[in-house]
């Protein structure tokens, strides 16, 4: 049968060879353009967000310069603003949270990935995901009504009695404070550490475990000396991801940190964090300089989490690529 060279609209053998007009007639170009605009909106939003944070913090940036970051005076009455107490509070509470949450999170992840039977592991993972869905204002409420009184009456006196010689545990115990905020934060970030670490651990090739066991390692030794080191970078990534969450966490911290812009060596002392000072003072900020100083704090927070998130993603991608790479080899 002789085939004559007829062209059927939109049905030529190679889609790529269709003319622009044909694609336009099919609606493909229109659909492409529309979806492209929606996608570009996301890019624009991010650019605009950075631009707005920059623009709306012009006043304090010009007035204080870099001194904004190192000054510890926050005095709205005399229009003097320094970010140091808040940066300090953010870093200390986040560090505390990591200190408490990392062992718990990684321990749980090891149990879920290495020990628990798949069905149990899946069910526990489901519960962990639910836990991650609990809003932070609810953690804050539980913090105020349970942890703060507990802290004031039992935990702080006990810490002072045993470790009171350290500068970390001195001064009056108000209940609210850096340590309380750290504990609440820790509870909140454990689910993130567990979920990500579990996936990373599950992606470690089976032969790694089998080789270790075959060499006579106990189950724990194979886990701790072979599997965990293999997944090290990814687990570190999950920790950074959790740290980024902790830095930006607002409500729960605001409710239990005590909202006092001071730098104290004692963990029992009240403090304030970047996110919580924005939350508690933004609506009552009178005057442009005051408001814009809060916006600049937002900018600082944005940059902190931006750097951490980038680093965390890099680590996670690197590990998962290595995992699958070896599996195929």
């Amino acid at each position: 049968m002789a085939v004559t060279a007829t062209t059927v609209h939109g049905a030529s053998p190679k889609a790529g060879s269709r003319t622009f007009l044909a694609k336009l007639r099919d609606g493909d170009e229109v659909a492409r353009l529309i979806t492209f605009l929606f996608a570009m909106f996301v890019v624009l939003i991010v650019v605009f967000l950075v631009f707005e944070l920059w623009r709306q913090s012009a006043l304090p940036r010009h007035k204080f310069g870099l001194a904004f970051l190192v000054s510890s005076v926050w005095d709205p009455v005399f229009d003097r603003f320094g970010a140091l107490p808040f940066i300090y509070g953010t870093l200390v509470t986040s560090a505390l949270a990591l200190f408490l949450a990392v062992p718990l999170g990684i321990g749980s992840a090891i149990f879920l990935a290495e020990l628990a039977p798949p069905r149990v592991s899946d069910m526990l993972q489901f519960l962990i995901e639910l836990l991650a869905a609990v809003p932070s204002v609810i953690y804050g409420m539980l913090g105020i009504f349970i942890l703060v009184p507990l802290m004031r009456q039992y935990i702080a006196p006990a810490l002072k009695a045993t470790l009171g010689f350290l500068p970390l545990f001195q001064g009056p115990a108000y209940g609210v404070g850096l340590l309380t905020a750290g504990i609440v934060l820790a509870t909140m970030i454990v689910p993130y550490i567990i979920s990500v670490s579990r996936e990373i651990l599950l992606s470690v090739p089976r032969d790694q475990r089998e080789a270790a066991l075959a060499l006579g390692a106990t189950r724990w030794e194979s886990t701790w000396k072979v599997v965990v080191p293999y997944a090290r970078a990814g687990i570190l990534g999950s920790v950074f991801l959790a740290l980024a969450r902790a830095l930006g966490e607002t409500m729960a911290v605001t409710m239990v940190i005590g909202s006092t812009p001071v730098i104290s060596s004692s963990l029992l002392s009240p403090g304030d964090s970047i996110a919580s000072v924005i939350a508690s003072q933004f609506t009552e900020a009178t005057g442009d300089l005051y408001l814009q100083s809060l916006v600049e704090l937002g900018l600082v927070l944005f940059l902190l989490t931006f750097i951490l998130n980038g680093f965390a993603r890099l680590l996670i991608v690197l590990t998962s690529q290595r995992g699958s790479g070896l599996e195929n080899a």
């Binding site: 694609k23 609606g27 493909d28 659909a31 492409r32 979806t35 929606f38 996608a39 996301v42 890019v43 991010v46 605009f48 967000l49 707005e52 944070l53 709306q56 999170g105 321990g107 749980s108 090891i110 020990l115 628990a116 526990l124 489901f126 519960l127 995901e129 639910l130 836990l131 869905a133 609990v134 809003p135 932070s136 204002v137 609810i138 409420m141 539980l142 009504f145 689910p191 567990i194 979920s195 990500v196 106990t218 189950r219 030794e221 980024a244 830095l247 930006g248 607002t250 409500m251 409710m255 924005i278 939350a279 933004f282 609506t283 916006v295 937002g298 927070l301 944005f302 989490t305 931006f306």
Partner: protein
């Protein structure tokens, strides 16, 4: 068995048991939260809580009807803004984009996902509150929408990509154009996953408080319009929990129980029913 080997086995069992204890502690937090909220909030939930406005300061009683409606309005408008952007953006990434634009869009979405919600609130404030000189439902919804976009976009992309090639090829072979293939074959095949992701995103922003503090603000009365401040459950919980009145604390517990209950129900439906056997992306 030498003592060394026995010792190593003891250590092994001990440490593995410890990991079990860790997991137990982590999971039990959920039951603790649920139990505590049910215990304290359960007694404060009654019909008036859902139907009445907050009582004037100093009086007991009253409810949170305006906050419940306010939250619903905020979420509805947020989905109206956020879901189309996320969905069509995801369609673009999965079906139309070149690798370079895809990288830029994906990177932006990931970046947006990592922005602390309080900073999103500042952004919504500077572009929707400052120019109009008052707080509004719209500004709050916009902030929540921004929090929904990244998850919706990335999971739409992922689920569209996971639709088997043969389905697309079948449709194309029948002469369907690309967008017709997407609309009538690919998207329906992926809808369960995408819907799950949207529901989860919605559940996540339902509890967000920080971005609403200076966008939707709060209101002790019915909100008169979309360009006026409105009450919402999370902000109400925050204000009531910090207030010095015993009666308000009880209502905060009740509101917390209602909010958490809704969020967990949506989560269970989305993860357990809709997404049975699928890998659900993390928000």
């Amino acid at each position: 068995m030498s003592t060394r080997v026995r010792w190593r086995k003891v250590v092994s069992h001990l440490m593995l048991a410890m990991t079990g204890v860790c997991a137990l502690i982590s999971v039990s937090v959920l039951f603790f939260i649920l139990g505590y909220l049910a215990f304290h909030g359960g007694s404060a939930i009654h019909w008036e809580f859902f139907t009445k406005l907050p009582a004037p300061v100093g009086e007991t009683g009253g409810g949170m009807a305006n906050a419940i409606v306010g939250s619903a309005k905020l979420l509805a408008l947020a989905s109206l803004i956020g879901v189309p952007i996320g969905f069509f953006g995801g369609v673009y990434l999965a079906e139309f984009s070149g690798s370079r634009t895809a990288f830029v869009v994906r990177y932006s979405a990931d970046l947006l996902n990592g922005v602390p919600s309080i900073v999103i609130g500042i952004f919504a404030y500077t572009i929707l509150v400052l120019p109009f000189r008052h707080y509004s439902t719209l500004a709050g919804s916009f902030a929540l929408a921004l929090l929904m976009i990244p998850t919706t976009l990335r999971s739409t992309e992922d689920f569209l990509r996971s639709v088997p090639r043969s389905l697309r090829e079948g449709a194309m072979a029948l002469g369907a154009s690309r967008w017709k293939t997407i609309i009538s074959v690919v998207a329906p095949a992926a809808y369960r996953g995408i819907l799950t992701a949207i529901l989860l995103a919605l559940a996540r922003v339902a509890g967000e408080t920080a971005p609403l503090l200076f966008t939707a603000l709060g209101n002790r009365f019915w909100s008169p319009g979309w360009n006026q401040p409105t009450a919402s459950l999370p902000v109400m919980i925050y204000q009531y929990a910090l207030a010095p009145y015993e009666d308000w604390h009880e209502q905060a517990w009740a509101a917390g129980l209602v909010l958490l209950g809704l969020i967990l129900v949506v989560n269970v439906i989305a993860r357990g029913v809709l997404a049975r056997g699928m890998a659900v992306p993390r928000s």
